[in-house]
């Protein structure tokens, strides 16, 4: 069951990755495009394929996987299907960290300042959320804490960008809040990949512990799970992935909510399978959204967060309604 699902998702990611490479305003013929990508035979086509479309497709996979996995991990730890990095302000705080690094000039002075600043913002947000709405806190505490953290991070991001001497900075508020992969480059791939990879390895290794946790905290402790250590791993893993993803692509919401929700019934609610499946599912969703923005409005930079919110927000409302009906809210 789990293995078949993972294989199916992998095939879907591969197919969408190829499609993402073939969509773009330059209107290259598929054969010509792939030949330029692999052999580098024509200068213009090669630049378009290797420097513009390839990094974009790779980033869609990385960012989607990071957000899907981070959502599934937070939901596994909090045992609450509403815990999602975008909704609870982790992405927004990462964006604030990134904007601070860029506008203070730290990011220009040191390459790693950008991802580390975004990561620090994300760590801070996860810690606040866990402190306010840890495993014993209810859904309502989680959502309210998330609203407050998101609102503050969003306001401070706007403030920093409005204070910038750069005339374009203020108009980029929408990028940091909604996210986009337009015109990213290999530089961004190298910046994000190590942090997302490290976070993914660390979190995927916790699958069995999240399985034990579904039986309740006491049962998990009796099975040898060290809760404090698990929490620390979760904080660093989620922050590392969401921080890096947000630093290069802005805050893209709802991916970590939609993907685990769709996949959960298919894996029999086992976190150890849900985690890798959600990483792949996140990649599928962001690849699809990023292809869609280029098909719907090819000449404009439609933000990814617009599409994920259109899909995700109704689902979020449905989840709140369901949680309320079960008397958990």
């Amino acid at each position: 069951m789990g293995r078949g699902l993972v294989a199916g998702l992998l095939a879907l990611v591969a197919g969408l990755f190829a499609a993402s490479l073939l969509v773009g305003p330059a209107g290259l013929a598929p054969v010509q495009a792939l030949s330029a990508l692999i052999w580098g035979d024509a200068l213009a086509e090669t630049l378009v394929m290797r420097e513009i479309r390839l990094p974009r497709a790779i980033l869609a996979v990385l960012v989607g996987a990071a957000l899907g996995l981070a959502g599934a991990a937070m939901q596994g730890y909090l045992r609450n299907p509403l815990a999602e990095p975008g909704l609870i302000g982790v992405s927004g705080s990462a964006a604030l960290g990134a904007v601070l690094a860029l506008q203070t000039g730290l990011a220009a002075a040191h390459v790693l300042a950008l991802p580390f600043a975004a990561l620090s913002g994300a760590v801070l947000a996860v810690l606040i959320i866990l402190a306010l709405a840890g495993p014993r806190g209810g859904s309502i505490t989680l959502i309210l804490a998330g609203i407050a953290v998101s609102a503050l991070a969003g306001a401070l991001t706007s403030l920093v960008l409005n204070l910038s001497p750069n005339p374009f900075a203020a108009s980029e508020i929408v990028f940091w809040m909604m996210g986009s992969l337009q015109d990213r480059s290999m530089t961004h791939v190298w910046l994000a990949a190590p942090f997302i990879g490290l976070g993914a390895v660390v979190l995927l290794a916790q699958g069995r512990k999240f399985d034990a946790l579904t039986l309740g905290e006491d049962a998990a402790v009796s099975m040898g799970v060290h809760l404090g250590r698990l929490r620390l791993t979760l904080v660093l893993g989620v922050a590392s992935m969401v921080g890096a993803a947000t630093a290069v692509a802005g805050a893209i919401g709802f991916v970590g909510l939609v993907v685990p929700h769709i996949l959960r019934p298919l894996v029999g609610a086992r976190p150890s399978v849900l985690l890798p499946a959600s990483a792949l599912g996140g990649a599928v969703l962001v690849l699809m959204a990023d292809i869609a923005v280029r098909v719907i409005l090819p000449t404009r930079d439609l933000k990814l967060g617009v599409l994920t919110a259109i899909v995700g927000a109704p689902l979020f409302l449905h989840l709140i309604y369901k949680t309320r009906a079960q008397g958990q809210l």
């Binding site: 305003p25 200068l43 086509e45 001497p165 374009f168 900075a169 108009s171 015109d183």
Partner: protein, 275 residues
């Protein structure tokens, strides 16, 4: 009631004051737009121009920095401009309509000058500002110099090299724009016009690269960081410049329809010798 009476007497006082100064050339002119600043500084009699906009003292966008530093500056807000008691305010076509409306309600004469989008329209703009300031002789002298210099610079080529204008957010200028005419006058063809763009607009980086320009003219980066300007240093654009195209910077001289565009044309035309 008292308030109403006070406001109507204020309006009457303003009308008399406006009528009294309306006869001769304006004595207190305030400019609140970068491009009208430049024309006014070129044409105004000593003491006639009392304030220019803050942006004219910004070395990144001002072409007349030295002269601009000699004037008091304003930030173009209604209250601040009104306090300067101008009898003429020069504004741009896209100056905030709230500011313009407020000043007009207060009885101040505001003239909004249109955006200049061709070289031919530059003498008209100079003539209009000269007329408004009552400096006809000075304006005609500036126009004569401009027309002669432009004729000397203009060069037609059988196969002009193809240039791409590349600004932040992949913004570029197609036909019917001042930047397009600067390119053409300097003997270059504009790839944005090939792509069918008229006026300003965006041209996706992919399409720009597929058009393989011989020269990339990129916008000048501003201080502070922005994601919008990252496209200017994108590896794909660097690859294009390293392996195929020449590179030049577009700066403040490209912005306004004033004689400063002659310097932009001259520097651009010099690139022909190099390549």
């Amino acid at each position: 009631m008292a308030l109403r009476r006070a406001s109507s007497s204020l309006a009457a006082a303003l009308a008399i004051w406006a009528g009294a100064v309306g006869a001769g050339p304006p004595e207190r002119v305030v400019s609140i737009n970068l491009c009208t600043d430049q024309l006014a500084m070129m044409l105004a009699a000593p003491g006639q121009l009392v304030s220019i906009s803050r942006i004219s003292q910004d070395p990144n966008v001002s072409v007349m920095l030295e002269q601009a530093l000699g004037y008091p500056i304003n930030s173009g807000q209604g209250e601040e401009v009104f306090r300067l008691q101008p009898d003429l305010v020069l504004a741009g076509q896209f100056t905030s309509s709230y500011t313009v409306g407020l000043l007009r309600r207060l009885g101040v004469e505001v003239v909004q000058l249109p955006i200049v989008s061709s070289l031919d329209a530059i003498p008209d703009a100079i003539r209009e500002v000269g007329h408004l300031l009552g400096q006809h002789v000075q304006a005609e002298a500036v126009i004569a110099d401009f027309t002669a210099d432009l004729a000397g610079l203009q060069q037609a080529r059988d196969t002009p090299p193809r240039a791409a204008l590349h600004y932040a957010n992949n913004y570029t200028s197609g036909e019917n724009s001042l930047a397009h005419e600067i390119l053409t006058a300097a003997g270059f063809a504009n790839i944005a016009a090939e792509a069918g763009l008229s006026g300003g607009g965006t041209l996706a980086m992919e399409r720009l690269i597929m058009l393989m320009p011989d020269l990339v003219i990129s916008g000048q980066p501003y201080p502070g960081a922005s994601r919008s300007e990252e496209v200017l240093r994108h590896p794909a654009m660097r690859g294009l410049r390293d392996r195929h195209a020449g590179h030049a910077l577009a700066d403040a001289e490209w912005v306004c329809g004033t004689p400063a565009v002659l310097r932009a044309i001259a520097r651009l035309a010099d690139l022909h010798e190099g390549g």
